[in-house]
């Protein structure tokens, strides 16, 4: 007798075989009681699954209510958050306008201090640049330092590549 077709029976039941495979299974089934029995048992299993889960009692109307209330709750949360953000922004603006006469003087003083600080930082930067450019052979020193660092890196990479993995 030709080879059994057990592994194709599932797809055969579901009509998921190509023509050639289907014909082969059909011709085998007509002569093999063992595979016929296997097919019947698999079909019985399929029917049982379908029957069991089709008969499961579905959740009632409260299910839809629960889903929709969860959605509404999240929508409200998002809405409340947006309202809060807008409210906060408006409050800041109103407070800014209302306190303008009072805060005008300190505001200008603050601006003066900030611009003074910025000037100090930029002058410091300028001084540092001038000192560095006045140093003799600066570019040569940088080149040498870079070459040393590169050489060290290269040596490290080579020694890492030479390392063997630790065996357990």
């Amino acid at each position: 007798m030709e080879e059994h077709v057990q592994d194709l029976l599932s797809a055969f039941m579901d009509d998921e075989l190509n023509n050639e495979e289907r014909k082969m299974v059909e011709s085998h089934l007509s002569v093999c009681p063992l595979c016929r029995q296997e097919l019947e048992e698999l079909q019985a299993v399929q029917a049982k699954i379908k029957q069991f889960y089709d008969s499961v009692e579905l959740p009632g109307f409260q299910f839809e209510k629960a889903v929709m209330s969860k959605i509404y709750a999240e929508e409200n949360l998002v809405m409340n958050y947006r309202v809060f953000i807008w409210f906060f922004a408006v409050c800041i603006l109103v407070a800014g306008f209302a306190m303008y006469p009072v805060l005008r003087k300190p505001f200008y003083v603050g601006m003066d201090i900030a611009s003074g600080l910025a000037n100090i930082v930029s002058s410091g930067f300028h001084i540092a640049l001038s000192i560095l450019s006045a140093l003799p052979n600066l570019s040569a020193a940088i080149m040498i330092a870079t070459s040393v660092i590169l050489a060290v890196c290269l040596w490290l990479v080579i020694s890492l590549l030479k390392m063997k993995p630790v065996k357990e």
């Binding site: 599932s10 998921e16 048992e41 299993v45 399929q46 699954i49 579905l58 889903v67 959605i71």
Partner: protein, 177 residues
């Protein structure tokens, strides 16, 4: 519900019509709940997953490209939620087993074990989540192998072998009971 009406309902829901979405929940709650129930084997958990799936679907509706793919898109959402829930339940069960081992003085006798009833749900629980999903999508939801491959994002050959293995395992479990 006629296919055209359904497509219109899905499009309305996509454009933000909350009543249309509520109608979709009513239409699809059976499929979604059965899928979840077959996966987690617990009514309360299944109901919770099904609700979560619809809420998740509502907020991702703009990602749904074609209205006709709503059902399979929902099936993917439910599958993913079920995987997550099963992972959590497995961790919880492992913890529970540890506690039980400490507290139980007498293990169940052979007779008690033999008396355990093997029904479909017990047998389904023996399958891996991946095999269970393939079988649920085929035998409970009625998807073709090609659709299952797309929903689960696996090759067609894998769908074939998973369904085949799952049915054989179920057959063996049920015949033992």
């Amino acid at each position: 519900m006629v296919e055209q009406d359904l497509t219109r309902l899905i499009q309305q829901a996509k454009s933000g019509d909350i009543d249309a979405f509520a109608a979709l929940v009513t239409r699809f709650k059976g499929e979604v709940f059965r899928h979840a129930y077959a996966m987690v084997n617990d009514r309360m958990e299944a109901e919770d997953i099904a609700q979560e799936a619809f809420v998740k679907a509502y907020y991702s509706l703009d990602k749904l490209e074609h209205a006709y793919a709503f059902a399979s898109w929902m099936a993917r959402i439910v599958s993913n939620l079920c995987y997550d829930r099963l992972k959590k339940l497995k961790k919880k069960a492992a913890l529970q087993t540890e506690m039980d081992e400490e507290t139980l003085s007498r293990p169940a006798s052979n007779i008690e074990r033999a008396n355990l009833r093997f029904d479909i749900r017990d047998a389904m629980e023996k399958l891996s989540p991946e095999h269970r999903t393939a079988l649920v999508l085929r035998d409970i939801e009625g998807y073709s192998y090609d659709e299952i491959a797309k929903i689960m994002r696996i090759p067609l050959g894998t769908v074939k072998s998973r369904i085949n293995t799952a049915r054989k395992a179920l057959k063996n479990e049920l015949s033992r009971g």
